[in-house]
């Protein structure tokens, strides 16, 4: 899918909560082997949302950082699309609240998107269309989550909180990067799901992994074929990170190297931020890329599907880096919590006054 008018990323912004819980801490509670997760899955610790944080607050922080880098008037934003699998409301879009807080309302399109872990990247695709068609001047796409996982489940060792936002606009001298093309590969696959009234998702174990590789490999190959490009044409490659092993394996199978994936691989230190995962990985890469660098991105959302992108860094990227806190800044800003505190904040312990 190529936009009829060239579009680009005018600004990007990340946000990761400061709290962390170590995989070892979780393993001790459940009597599990820490190495299964640290060595087996390549995760040391994950980001935990504070007691007054949720997907809306994370989305707002990311959106404000994106605005700082975009250096545009908020009222020029024509759409705010928030992608998440943990919106605080089943009915009442996060997009509305974000739009209001950043000063972009009322002449604006706002909506929430859901496609498991790839809801954030879909927002980018929708904004590409809205912008290149001339319907709006700028669009904001956010991917953010306070990821859910059943206590004691394998998912608990990775499910984390965080997100990032992108402001998309026509390709001009203010654009930090060009989004050249995108493609999506979607099937009906029940690998991981959550019913509306349920707090935690269910998954198919090994089957979920198979679905991951199937969709990522196909979307990746599809995009490279459409572009007539090869892995070595890219300086950076970012793949969805449910753990530290899958994206490395996907990279290898598609022909990419660990050197290409290194900068965008954040899961070892912050866990899997679900819809925030690829947006945060992309933000980290934008903060390292030099003008002219080609970036290959493939997200994955259970249910299932993958979005692939070809992005190229432009000259304006260098001056925008320091206009807002970087992903690295947020990764290094951390404070550890124990399991009791984590359980209380995640509302796994229900007190008299606890509201879900």
């Amino acid at each position: 899918m190529k936009p009829s008018q060239p579009v680009g990323i005018i600004g990007w912004g990340a946000y990761i909560p400061q709290y962390r819980i170590k995989v070892n801490t979780i393993a001790q509670v459940w009597g599990a082997q820490t190495e299964r997760y640290t060595e087996g899955l390549g995760i040391e610790e994950k980001a935990v949302a504070g007691p007054d944080e949720d997907t809306i607050t994370i989305a707002i922080e990311a959106a404000q950082n994106a605005l700082k880098r975009a250096q545009i008037e908020p009222k020029e934003i024509g759409a705010v699309l928030s992608g998440s699998e943990s919106p605080p409301y089943a009915v009442k879009p996060t997009g509305c609240t974000v739009a209001e807080v950043i000063g972009a309302t009322p002449n604006i399109l706002a909506a929430d998107l859901e496609f498991a872990c790839k809801a954030g990247t879909e927002g980018i695709q929708f904004c590409m269309g809205l912008v290149s068609s001339g319907m709006i001047k700028y669009g904001m796409a956010i991917g953010a989550d306070v990821a859910q996982s059943a206590p004691g489940d394998d998912l608990e060792y990775a499910a984390a909180a965080g997100g990032a936002a992108f402001i998309i606009g026509k390709l001009d001298s203010n654009a930090a990067a060009a989004i050249n093309a995108s493609t999506s590969y979607v099937t009906d696959t029940p690998d991981f799901w959550r019913r509306s009234e349920q707090p935690y998702p269910k998954h198919g174990g090994v089957f979920t992994g198979q679905s991951y590789f199937h969709h990522i490999i196909n979307a990746g190959q599809q995009l490279m074929q459409e572009l007539g490009m090869k892995p070595k044409d890219f300086q950076y490659a970012i793949f969805h990170q449910p753990n530290g092993k899958f994206p490395e394996k996907a990279a290898r199978e598609l022909g990419f190297t660990s050197e290409q994936t290194r900068v965008g691989m954040l899961v070892g230190r912050i866990g899997n931020t679900y819809s925030g995962c690829i947006p945060l990985g992309l933000s980290a890469v934008l903060e390292a890329a030099k003008p002219g660098d080609n970036i290959f991105v493939v997200s994955y959302g259970s249910g299932a599907g993958s979005d692939a992108f070809h992005i190229t860094a432009l000259d304006a990227i260098e001056n925008k880096r320091e206009l807002a806190p970087t992903v690295q800044d947020y990764i290094e800003r951390k404070e550890y919590v124990g399991y009791a505190c984590y359980a209380k904040w995640r509302k796994m312990i229900i007190g008299l006054e606890t509201k879900r």
Binding site: Q33, E35, R36, G204, G205, V206, F207, Q210
Partner: protein, 383 residues
């Protein structure tokens, strides 16, 4: 009683076969066996399966599987005997041909376990133990084997290393088996340091979960030469039983069911253990393999570790064990395992086992066990 031969073998690869179903797996195995046998007209089907009711929500599978395998209209029976369902199916098909009731039968086994999560699968497998005295109190099958392994280690002064070496040998063999679930080698280090499951059993001491199906065509030996130049005859068969509940057994370090089954099979075949060239035994756990090596009469009690340590169970050793890779590395689609075991022996005796061929194998033995030796089957074959 007529002499019975195996004239066809059909197998699927074992693994997490998400794109295959119970019926598609079994159909493939049956078609393979029929093709291998030259498509004789089949009169009856005996299929082993442990738990389609729980894994697949499907009972009444004899009718289902015969229909979808293209064997409509012939008598079909599903036989369940826990992890020994495969050998049980073989034994009953064998009896049908030996007694003259049928001439050409298919005996097969299938298990489609991977449409459940690992936790659910483990719970389902635990239903082979006593639900009132064992499972109900939290004693799982691996728990029983773990206690026995510790008793064995203490009694015979054996440490974990020979058990780990056994697993290494299984993977070595499986690396040469195109049907194996884990066709790759491993190291002693990895086996020794694998995650503990139920001390002293570690992950590499355990057979994995997996899907698969296998089928054989049996017929009277006198007709076999019309279908194959290498008929393999079943010359001995034995079915032993023991008290169901583990704590009521007379001896925790020996499976009476296996000893009884083996005695009967050897007697029928007119051979002694040292005449067996190759064996496929039931290594659900490495300790089960050690007990089996001893109960089948190959070495005295407590000595299994020694021959494993000395590498004598390798393909070119004095007692090649599980050339397929065994339950550990070939895999263990529960109801099908007994049939996979015999399929391997048939291929070995025909000289068709490729890179994992045991040189000059003429007599082979299979041992398929249910639970922790509640029942046990031994079959002996000769080419």
């Amino acid at each position: 009683m007529r002499e019975v031969a195996v004239i066809g073998v059909g197998l699927t690869k074992v693994g997490h076969l998400f794109s295959e179903s119970l019926r598609s797996l079994f159909s493939r195995a049956v078609r393979g066996a029929l093709e291998d046998a030259g498509n004789p007209k089949i009169e009856a089907l005996y299929v082993g399966n442990m738990s389609a009711g729980q894994f697949n929500n499907q009972e009444n599978i004899a009718a289902l599987l015969s229909d979808f395998a293209g064997l409509n209209g012939i008598p079909a029976t599903r036989i369940e005997e826990g992890c020994g369902s495969g050998a049980a199916a073989i034994y009953n098909g064998y009896k049908a041909v030996a007694s003259g009731v049928h001439d050409f039968v298919i005996v097969g086994g299938v298990e489609k376990m991977m449409d459940t999560t690992a936790n659910d699968a483990t719970s389902i497998i635990s239903t082979v133990t006593d639900q009132e005295y064992e499972a109900f109190l939290g004693l799982s099958l691996v728990g029983i084997n773990a206690m026995v392994m510790r008793l064995y280690m203490n009694t015979f002064g054996v440490d974990r290393e020979p058990f780990a070496k056994f697993s290494v040998q299984m993977h070595d063999n499986a690396s040469k088996n195109p049907y194996a679930q884990f066709p790759f080698k491993t190291s002693l280090d990895k086996a020794m340091n694998s995650n503990p499951v139920a001390d002293p059993i570690h992950l590499m001491d355990c057979a994995p979960l997996g899907d698969g199906a296998a089928a054989l065509v049996l017929c009277p030996k006198e007709y076999a030469k019309n279908f194959t130049s290498k008929p393999v005859e079943i010359i001995g068969a034995g079915h032993g039983m023991d008290n169901f509940i583990f704590h009521t057994r007379e001896d925790f370090l020996s499976l009476k069911a296996t000893r009884d089954a083996a005695r009967e099979a050897y007697r029928m075949a007119g051979i002694t253990p040292d005449e067996v060239d190759v064996v496929e035994l039931h290594d659900a756990f490495s300790i089960t393999a050690f007990l089996s090596i001893e109960d089948l009469g190959f070495v005295e009690k407590g000595a299994a570790g020694q021959i494993v340590d000395e590498g004598l169970i390798a393909l070119d050793g004095t007692l090649p064990v599980n050339p397929s890779g065994g339950l550990k590395a070939r895999g263990h689609p529960i109801g099908a395992t007994g049939v996979y075991q015999m399929a391997e022996i048939v291929l070995q005796l025909r000289g068709e086992a490729g890179a994992r061929q045991v040189p000059g194998a003429e007599i082979g033995l299979t041992n398929n066990i249910s639970g922790f030796g509640a029942s046990s089957y031994v079959h002996i074959l000769r080419v």
